[in-house]
């Protein structure tokens, strides 16, 4: 099958949607499908840009939905999107987050035929811009044959805001990339607890974990905390008693390549999230590595951990309970081994091979349920016609003072 995938966010910056698209694409390629990914790219000449990525142009930072999103929207991107659609002759077009103003939206407007979109956002987005543009967005989204949501929360957002239904296909984990990873070199042999996530995002719950440290040290005197993730730790460290500061090891942002080793360096992986986790990809990654997991009992985590069978749970936000549960686990190697084994087994259901098989079923059903069989818009100009929107693109470049990034 020829599949065109559209990524709304800049490919060069790390993010959940980009990682999702990368893993899905590589999994589809391994099954023998032809895949091309259209995405905003800041450095099209970077050596590590995968061969399947086609640049839609440079993205501009735009404040959106409470944070800064790097989006790609304009005549130049539209031209490139249409050129990519024309050259691709895709059997199925797979758009991600088509409800944010970026390349996915441009593709919806330009294409027709078998189209499916994946919705990742689990929070309802209510901004003035969205309310104003919703009727226009709605008509674009009406062209979609199928909709996929990555979590029950994302599905609820789709059903409440767009009406209709969405097929639930959870995120995947490349289990083999994590399984059997070696710990970071030169680690002390002391019992180690690992945390991975943004330090300064309260819902990731690092404060709950640091709050558990004093009580934990009482029971496991040589315990160490390995904390990986971007953000400023100074505020959080201020809450930790001074004598315990050397127990906390801050790794900063770790690369995707180093993540498996970070998980493998822990005797226990802790996910102390307080709320807002729609799936818990970190849990699945730790389980794939073979590290026993202790997580707050959020609904999403309970599901991934099979109500405690594939990983231990503690009451959300309760530092005292977390300290007790951690000490119990660190003093019980047999229970840790059992949880690790159950976790490795349970995480297979979230492997990309399973997820990709479901996505291919959606592609096949979408092809059978779409009004026309080719993903090309009738009025796209032929290949040798002068570039559509060329004049508009030139005007845009003149206005923005941006020199030709058109080739």
């Amino acid at each position: 099958m020829r599949v065109g995938i559209v990524c709304p966010y800049t490919w060069d910056t790390p993010g959940g949607v980009q990682a999702h698209i990368r893993d899905l694409t590589e999994s589809l390629l391994a099954l023998g499908h032809e895949v091309s990914v259209l995405a905003p790219v800041d450095e099209p000449d970077a050596p590590d840009l995968p061969p399947y990525v086609v640049s839609a142009g440079r993205a501009v930072p735009v404040p959106y939905n409470g944070s800064v999103a790097r989006l790609c929207f304009g005549p130049l991107s539209l031209t490139r999107t249409r050129r990519w659609l024309r050259a691709g002759r895709f059997d199925v077009l797979h758009l991600h987050e088509p409800n944010i103003p970026s390349v996915s939206m441009l593709a919806i407007w330009s294409a027709r035929g078998a189209m499916v979109a994946t919705f990742h956002l689990s929070r309802a987005t209510r901004s003035l811009a969205l309310t104003v543009f919703e009727p226009i967005l709605q008509t674009g989204l009406e062209k979609l044959t199928g909709r996929i949501a990555v979590s029950p929360a994302a599905r609820k957002v789709v059903m409440e805001h767009l009406g209709g239904d969405a097929v639930l296909i959870p995120n995947g984990v490349s289990v083999d990339r994590f399984a059997g990873a070696a710990p970071l070199p030169g680690r002390p042999s002391a019992p180690t607890v690992v945390f991975l996530g943004r330090l300064d995002e309260p819902r990731k719950g690092l404060a709950v974990l640091l709050g558990a440290l004093p009580a934990l040290v009482q029971r496991v005197p040589d315990v160490r905390l390995l904390v990986a993730g971007p953000g400023d730790p100074s505020d959080l460290m201020a809450a930790v008693p001074q004598p315990l500061h050397d127990r906390v090891e801050l790794l900063g942002l770790v690369s995707e390549a180093d993540k498996p080793s970070v998980y493998a360096s822990g005797d226990v992986y802790v996910a102390p999230n307080t709320h807002g986790e729609s799936f818990g990809i970190v849990l699945a990654e730790a389980m794939a590595t073979g590290t026993p997991v202790l997580a707050s009992d959020l609904e999403a985590f309970r599901r991934v951990l099979q109500d405690g069978r594939a990983g231990a749970l503690f009451p959300t936000g309760d530092s005292a309970a977390l300290a007790a549960a951690l000490a119990d686990l660190l003093q019980d190697p047999a229970r840790r081994a059992a949880l690790a084994a159950a976790g490795s087994q349970a995480v297979r259901a979230y492997d990309w091979s399973t997820v990709t098989a479901s996505v291919v079923e959606v592609y096949e059903t979408v092809r059978a349920s779409a009004p026309v069989q080719d993903a090309l818009d009738d009025d796209l100009p032929p290949e040798d016609a002068p570039e559509a929107g060329g004049r508009a693109a030139a005007t845009w470049r003149r206005l923005t003072g941006r020199a030709g990034s058109s080739a």
Binding site: G163, G164, V167, T365, A368, S369, A370
Partner: protein, 174 residues
């Protein structure tokens, strides 16, 4: 009538014209989407009925096998008339018959095809019902109803059946 009123009237008429033609086009696209989604659902249901009949061939003779054969044959007739009832009857016949299915390789292969077909029915049904919901939302609008923008096209209906089967032994739960 003053000039301002004339201008206003022309403007209103022009806006109404733009809205009317745009909405008519939108409704055209939506109805085409519903029709195509129904075709996809129809094909998925036919595949399920064929798979159900193939499963029936592996059953020991008895009332369950006969009921399944009859239900599958009726479902294979197709057609939109009373389709939901026919498909629900097929699901009931399958639920009664599947526990009797032997564990040999042929029966397992037939069951696997039935499960694949059942998944497609669920997907196609979701796509169809989303198309119906989008179309009905536009057709509910006051101007669309007053101006008869949908023409003589019938109001599309949701297709609601119970197609869930018990998971086969050893199959992962969703």
């Amino acid at each position: 009538m003053s000039l301002a009123q004339v201008v206003l009237l022309v403007l209103v008429v022009a806006l109404l014209g733009v809205y009317t033609s745009w909405t008519a086009g939108r409704l055209d696209r939506l109805h085409a989407r519903v029709d195509a989604a129904w075709n996809g659902l129809d094909a998925a249901l036919a595949r399920r009925a064929a798979a159900a009949r193939a499963v029936g061939h592996h059953l020991p003779p008895g009332p369950e096998a006969d009921a399944l054969e009859a239900a599958a044959a009726e479902a294979l007739e197709g057609g939109p008339v009373a389709r939901e009832g026919v498909e629900n009857a097929l699901t009931r016949a399958l639920r009664a018959a599947l526990p009797l299915l032997p564990g040999d390789e042929g029966a397992r292969a037939a069951r696997a095809e039935l499960d694949a077909a059942t998944t497609r029915v669920g997907l196609a049904r979701s796509f169809h019902n989303s198309a119906v919901a989008d179309t009905r939302a536009v057709r509910r609008r006051v101007l669309v109803r007053r101006l008869h923008l949908a023409g003589h096209r019938v109001l599309p209906m949701h297709f609601d059946i119970d197609d869930a089967l018990l998971p086969a032994a050893g199959a992962p739960s969703p």
